[in-house]
């Protein structure tokens, strides 16, 4: 949901305005800094790599400290440092009491954050449990377990 | 084969009226035989605007109730309406040339309003053709239907003001002729028969849209 012609700073600032964020300037800077986008904050988004654009999207989504976050494959396009930054961010949000629904194929990352985990097949939940009962070790084991014979 | 009463009656009524207009109604003194197009032109115009009024009304109610049948009704009325509007726009110049000496009369407020009605009908249909999702299509068509209804009075007013400020040099622009009873009766008969015809077309077009949507639904289910 980024505007290609505008810079990351402008995109995040616009989102801050939409949500009526107080101390907008400071929050925008903080959000950009969390995703390590401060040094490219003034280049137009279209000039950034896919991974950086993804970081800006995340910064934009978080600037207003939402109470509920729907994250659909947020790790896609992120390099290692970006992924780490995202995990830290999600962890902070979780500690602050934000509800997070995370859809991911990156099982290890996802499970490290989650309180509960679910496996979906064809639009239905085939497994739903608390996170510590869901083993990250083998995705295929999990898959077979959950899907069973069906 | 079951013979439906409405199209039969409507068809018979229109034929009867045309015959009456052509052979059993007196010629108008100044305008002569060309004036008889009047008995096609006026009822077609009446139906064109009636059809659009119904499109706008159905659009409004659709936006309130979201019943897709209202959208089908509006769609049907629009397609029937555009045909009658085209008839008005063809018979108008055919009548105007011998009588007023010009094919088109920009100062004739009703004719120009009908032209814009035609434009709105056509853009309504193009809009519908460009949207695949039935619910989005219904909503957008309804918005256009209502906005179009708001536009027509403004067109009417603009052309009226235009004509009062620019008196056109026309040969023998007629004032409203007073109609003797014979002609009035023919006119009323033609209004009635055209209205019946409209409802006959509307009904069969509506049925077609019901069948078409039902067929599309089964195709979707199979997919």
């Amino acid at each position: 949901m980024l505007y290609e012609a505008l810079s990351p700073r402008e995109n995040v600032a616009f989102a801050a305005r939409l949500y009526g964020v107080r101390d907008a300037r400071a929050r925008v800077e903080a959000s950009l800094q969390r995703m390590s986008m401060l040094d490219r904050a003034d280049a137009p988004v279209r000039a950034l790599s896919r991974g950086m654009q993804q970081r800006v999207s995340i910064a934009r989504a978080m600037v207003h400290s939402p109470q509920l976050v729907l994250a659909d494959e947020p790790y896609s396009g992120l390099d290692e440092s970006g992924a780490r930054a995202l995990t830290v961010l999600l962890g902070e949000l979780r500690s602050a009491g934000t509800a997070i629904i995370l859809v991911t194929h990156n099982l290890a990352e996802g499970l490290s954050l989650a309180t509960h985990a679910a496996v979906m097949q064809r639009g239905r939940f085939v497994r739903y449990d608390s996170a510590d009962r869901v083993e990250a070790g083998s995705y295929s084991t999990l898959y077979r377990e959950a899907v069973g014979s069906g | 084969m079951k013979i439906s009463w409405l199209p039969t009656v409507a068809g018979a009524a229109v034929i009867a009226t045309v015959v009456r207009a052509a052979f059993y109604t007196p010629l108008e003194a100044r305008q002569g035989a060309a004036q008889k197009i009047f008995y096609l032109h006026v009822p077609a115009a009446w139906v064109a605007f009636l059809a659009f009024f119904l499109v706008a009304a159905a659009s409004g109610v659709y936006l309130w109730l979201h019943d897709i049948r209202l959208d089908r009704f509006a769609e049907s009325s629009a397609e029937v309406g555009v045909v009658f509007t085209t008839v008005v726009l063809i018979t108008g110049p055919l009548w105007a040339k011998p009588i007023w000496g010009t094919f088109w009369a920009w100062w004739d407020v009703r004719l120009v309003s009908t032209l814009f009605l035609w434009f709105i009908y056509v853009s309504y249909m193009v809009l519908r053709g460009a949207i695949e999702s039935p619910s989005l299509r219904a909503r957008y068509s309804a918005v256009l239907g209502i906005l179009g209804a708001f536009l027509i009075p403004f067109i009417h007013l603009s052309v009226y003001l235009f004509s009062t400020m620019h008196p056109m040099p026309i040969v023998g622009k007629p004032s409203k002729p007073s109609l003797p009873n014979e002609m009035l009766l023919t006119l009323l008969l033609s209004l009635a028969s055209f209205t019946l015809l409209y409802f006959a077309f509307l009904r069969s077009r509506y049925r077609y849209s019901v069948d078409r949507d039902a067929l599309a639904a089964t195709v979707d289910q199979d997919a």
Binding site: Y3 | F119, I120, L127, A130, V143, S158, L161
Partner: protein, 226 residues
């Protein structure tokens, strides 16, 4: 209400920032307007039709078509990266989104006119004088109507298959009363008639604006594709 306006203004600022960054639509519209002025001049026999008679029609026809160039990108800019979803998910009301975009379009149209009208005066050697103030009033009223209709149809067209075709096709019938009123009143004023004589046209423009600004603002939420 104040909330809506400030939200609308945020959106308008954002749209203008994007346009300012690329400037492509603005330049296209300006060049189009200037070329139009030139072409129309050569299309007429200057001895048969005086330039003062030609100018009003040319001005307002070009106004409409160059306006369309700007209107098209109004919602076009939201379709990249599904940016419109970001707006819709935010606490801002749908009406505010519409008003914001309409304001941005209004400023766009005004900016193009700031170039086109002086160009018209120069190319067509028009005796502006006292006419300047009423002309500006007409331009403002015409622009408001144009932008209300155009912004709404831009929002709709962008969700259809034939966006570039549909925007002009839907909008132009609605622009006609504006063009008639604006041209006729400009012509009267340029030929020295007093403002009182064009009051009927001005009232028509005001009524048109009131009706369609209200109708389009109310209709916009219905056109959101969610």
């Amino acid at each position: 209400m104040g909330n809506t306006l400030s939200a609308a203004w945020s959106i308008a600022r954002k749209d203008l920032a994007i346009e300012f960054r690329t400037r492509s639509a603005f330049f296209s519209a300006v060049i189009f307007a200037l070329l139009g002025l030139v072409i129309f001049y050569f299309a007429w026999d200057p001895t048969a039709v005086s330039v003062t008679d030609l100018a009003p029609g040319v001005l307002w026809v070009i106004f409409t078509f160059s306006g369309l160039l700007g209107l098209h990108r109004s919602f076009g800019v939201e379709s990249e990266d599904h940016a419109i979803d970001g707006l819709l998910a935010s606490p801002i009301s749908r009406e505010a989104i519409f008003v914001g975009k309409a304001i941005a379009n209004l400023i766009f149209v005004a900016a193009v006119q700031l170039v086109a009208i002086p160009a018209l005066v120069v190319f067509y050697n028009l005796p502006l004088g006292r006419v300047a103030a009423p002309l500006i009033a007409i331009a403002v009223l015409a622009a408001i109507g144009l932008v209300a209709i155009g912004t709404l149809f831009s929002a709709m067209a962008v969700n259809t298959r034939l966006a570039e075709l549909l925007l002009p096709m839907l909008s132009l019938p609605f622009f006609v009363p504006i063009v008639i009123a604006a041209s006729q009143s400009t012509a009267k004023l340029l030929s020295g008639r007093p403002v009182a004589e064009v009051s009927a046209w001005l009232k028509l423009l005001v009524a048109f604006d009131i009706v369609f600004v209200a109708a389009c603002t109310l209709a916009y939420p219905l056109t959101v594709d969610d």
